[in-house]
């Protein structure tokens, strides 16, 4: 039904997609699987007309077509179910269902809605406000809207993250019945299990290229290998300190924040450890870090800190939006973090700021406002703001958006400053980074820890299985 032939996409010098070809037949479900940054989102954006391809051809029923806008994509029947529902939470289910359509007769649309609900086994009250629905129910609504609009090619982005098992079954049944009706479905997922359950064929993307293709029945190990590649066995960092006294203790900590929340997580972080939190984005790592720092309160369970909170620092993934204060200069950030006297003179913090700029090679002056710094410089500034006596450093995606040199510098710096009585906990979607930098690994899946292991006692295969939801 649709065919991609040698699709490429460049963002400046970065090649996000390189000659990707795949076919989706009507009446079939095609899985796309790959790590973060494999190019899945770019591919979806091209298919939905949000961005245009740099090269290659797109065929619809063997006819070459250019998608210039989301409208073009919609007109040929491409419908996308986004990871975050794109709806109007304050409006009712019926209003949301009618939105974007062409017919605004409530009576008629209500009948269509209830017919669709019945055929899929969904149970939605048309009068309910959408904000009162679960993510899974919002997804059901969105799916029915796409069907009503005549979508024949459905693209689903990680449809099962954050929804219950029951809702997942309902969704899969709905997708199977749509497939039987002749729809072409493209399922983007991290989860091997659901690909195996649902798809007829699967394409593995890695670094923007096709790394593998299989038809049912799938060879599990080959799929994993294509996804994560077989890397030369990377050396975990030399253990600098032996794990010592407990610093932080989580006892049955649960939270409803984030996509999957936290479900009764228990673990103890000890001094000297570098703990890597692995898992698909939003599986609970960020919630754990924020709860540990005190930005979030757990719904239940307890966190015992064996040290004062003052000796703990948190560096979030979105450095500019969550970690720094746009509008303030580098020097002002240093004044805020170094607690100079109550009055700020023209000399306050100036020397320390200059030292930091030099030591951390930040490309800026004390007067530079932080929003004018690039990613690597922002990260170095954040690191420079952590005072020397901080024991526990919590970091979310420490090297996200950094080039190879900046990333290497960051880790060198972090390992160098780790003291025997301190620890580092960091989350990263990149297994390679986790394997190389941490002394202990916690793997998160749907808000739970599915694997807790010293780095030297595990391997790539075991980790990648745990990340995709397999225990053991």
């Amino acid at each position: 039904m649709i065919e991609l032939a040698d699709i490429s996409k460049n963002f400046g010098k970065v090649q996000a997609l390189h000659k990707v070809s795949l076919k989706v037949q009507s009446g079939s479900i095609h899985g796309i699987i790959g790590e973060n940054g494999a190019g899945k989102s770019t591919l979806m954006k091209i298919l939905t007309g949000f961005i245009s391809k740099s090269g290659g051809d797109f065929f619809f029923h063997s006819e070459s077509i250019d998608l210039h806008s989301p409208k073009d994509a919609r007109e040929i029947g491409i419908g996308m179910l986004y990871q975050e529902p794109l709806d109007f939470p304050q409006l009712s289910v019926l209003d949301n269902f009618m939105a974007g359509g062409t017919d605004f007769s409530p009576v008629k649309q209500r009948t269509i809605l209830s017919k669709l609900c019945n055929s899929f086994g969904f149970n939605l009250d048309p009068e309910n406000k959408v904000e009162e629905l679960t993510i899974g129910e919002r997804q059901q609504l969105e799916l029915m809207r796409l069907i009503r609009d005549g979508a024949k090619i459905l693209i689903l982005d990680e449809p099962t993250s954050g929804i219950s098992v029951k809702q997942q079954e309902l969704l899969f049944d709905a997708l199977r019945s749509l497939k039987d009706d002749g729809a072409a479905i493209l399922l983007v997922s991290h989860k091997l299990e659901e690909i195996k359950l649902l798809c007829d064929e699967v394409t593995v993307l890695r670094h923007g290229k096709i790394a593998g293709y299989q038809k049912r029945p799938f060879a599990h190990d080959k799929m994993l290998q294509a996804m994560f590649d077989t890397l030369p066995a990377s050396q975990p960092p030399a253990v600098k300190h032996i794990a010592g006294e407990p610093l932080l203790d989580f006892r049955k900590v649960s939270s409803k924040t984030g996509r999957s929340g936290l479900h009764s997580v228990s673990t103890t972080i000890r001094s000297g450890e570098v703990v890597g939190l692995a898992g698909v984005d939003g599986s609970g790592q960020s919630v754990l870090l924020r709860t540990a720092f005190g930005l979030l309160q757990p719904e239940s369970g307890s966190i015992s800190r064996f040290q004062e909170l003052e000796t703990c620092a948190f560096i979030p993934a979105d450095r500019l939006a969550e970690g720094l204060i746009p509008g303030l200069t580098i020097r002002e950030h240093h004044i805020l973090s170094k607690k100079t006297g109550p009055i700020i003179t023209s000399k306050s913090g100036l020397e320390k700021t200059r030292d930091a700029i030099k030591t951390y090679s930040i490309r800026g002056t004390p007067k530079t406002e932080v929003e004018n710094l690039s990613g690597g410089n922002l990260q170095r500034l954040l690191l420079s703001l952590i005072s020397a006596d901080i024991q526990l450093i919590l970091m979310e995606n420490p090297t996200r958006g950094l080039d190879v040199q900046s990333a290497a510098w960051t880790w060198k710096h972090l390992h160098a400053r780790l003291k025997a009585e301190g620890a580092i906990i960091f989350a990263s979607p990149d297994l390679e980074e986790i394997m190389e930098q941490s002394t202990r690994i916690l793997v998160f899946y749907n808000g739970s820890i599915t694997l807790d292991t010293p780095t030297k006692a595990t391997n790539y295969q075991q980790l990648s299985r745990a990340v995709t939801g397999e225990r053991g």
């Binding site: 969550e322 303030l328 004044i335």
Partner: protein, 342 residues
């Protein structure tokens, strides 16, 4: 921001605002020049008139200083009017006390302190509604304005009514010795002038050169990130609202003790809203505020002459002030858009 750009900005705003107002006047068949001369005559051409300007400038600058704190914290303190009224009530409360045995100077100081406290409490209430109750400070402030307005009417017509008969013209005048000293030929109290200048310098020091001022700015710019620096944005916002309310309350105290010598229903004279315009036109910066206050005070004082000499309603000054602020916002917006490369 270099000095040339600042000057260019001021020139642009003035040209835009004056142009718009002149156009309007010409369309109405009134000479802008005549208006200008009348306004100037009514404000700066005589010592007495200039005194009148100063008597507007003092409370306006106090309110504006308060707003600088709240704007810096990223809050829209729309409740300044109510805070001025509460301050006036606070001062009146002290000045109506009988047989305190305190010397007048002490009582007057106490009255001003009480006005600061009362306004501060009113501001704190809006802050509390925001941080604890989740009520947007704009709605909280607006609601509290109505409550304060109701309270002052109730006091004037009820418990604090004039001897004999309640009157909308206010309470009884305070005894002469409880009037703030005003030299012969003057119409403003030197003490109030000194007070407002000290307050402005303190505001400038705190906001531009103190750790606390930097914390307010950080919490205002990015509350989420400020928490990583050990700042509690809720507490900072609450403190800023309290200070802002306190300074507005002080304006009310000055109105009662130095200008009217009694409590009147319209004691706030709209300075609370006018101060919002002042601070917006100043681009939320400290330094231009006293000058803009002076300009606005001249317009307000000068416009009193309009109905007398030209039979034009004095609300024209409001039109000019509004045009200035709109031009200001427009120029800021355009310059910001330009610097972001749009």
């Amino acid at each position: 921001m270099n000095i040339i750009m600042q000057i260019r900005r001021i020139v642009l705003i003035s040209v835009l605002a004056l142009g718009a107002v002149s156009l309007l006047l010409i369309l109405l068949g009134i000479s802008p020049l005549t208006i200008g001369i009348t306004l100037a005559k009514g404000s700066i051409f005589s010592w007495l008139k200039f005194n009148h300007v100063l008597s507007v400038w003092i409370p306006l600058l106090l309110c504006s200083c308060g707003l600088l704190f709240t704007f810096r914290a990223g809050l829209w303190n729309i409740g300044v009017e109510g805070q001025v009224i509460c301050g006036a009530i606070g001062a009146t409360l002290v000045l109506r006390l009988d047989n305190t045995g305190l010397p007048p100077a002490a009582l007057l100081s106490l009255a001003l302190f009480s006005s600061f406290l009362a306004g501060g409490l009113w501001g704190a209430l809006a802050g509390l509604l925001k941080t604890k109750g989740g009520v947007n400070e704009i709605f909280g402030g607006l609601g509290l304005n109505f409550v304060a307005q109701g309270a002052v009417l109730w006091l004037i017509l009820g418990p604090w009514k004039r001897a004999g008969m309640a009157s909308m013209s206010g309470t009884d005048l305070f005894p002469r010795e409880l009037w703030m000293w005003i030299p012969p030929g003057w119409r403003v109290a030197p003490a109030a002038m000194v007070l407002v200048i000290i307050i402005f310098l303190l505001t400038s020091l705190i906001l531009n050169a103190s750790q606390f001022g930097l914390k307010i700015k950080a919490a205002g710019f990015n509350p989420q990130a400020s928490r990583l620096f050990g700042i509690r944005p809720g507490l900072v916002g609450f403190t800023a609202m309290s200070i802002g309310g306190g300074l507005a309350g002080l304006a009310g105290g000055v109105q009662v003790s130095c200008v009217y010598h009694r409590l009147i229903p319209s004691i706030s004279s709209g300075y609370g809203y006018l101060a919002l315009l002042v601070v917006m036109l100043a681009g939320y910066k400290v330094t231009p505020v006293p000058i803009i206050c002076l300009l606005f005070a001249c317009l307000a004082a000068g416009s009193i002459q309009l109905p007398i000499t030209l039979q034009i309603d004095s609300s024209l000054s409001g039109v000019i002030q509004g045009a200035l602020v709109l031009s200001g916002l427009l120029v800021y917006g355009l310059q910001q858009g330009k610097s972001r490369g749009h």
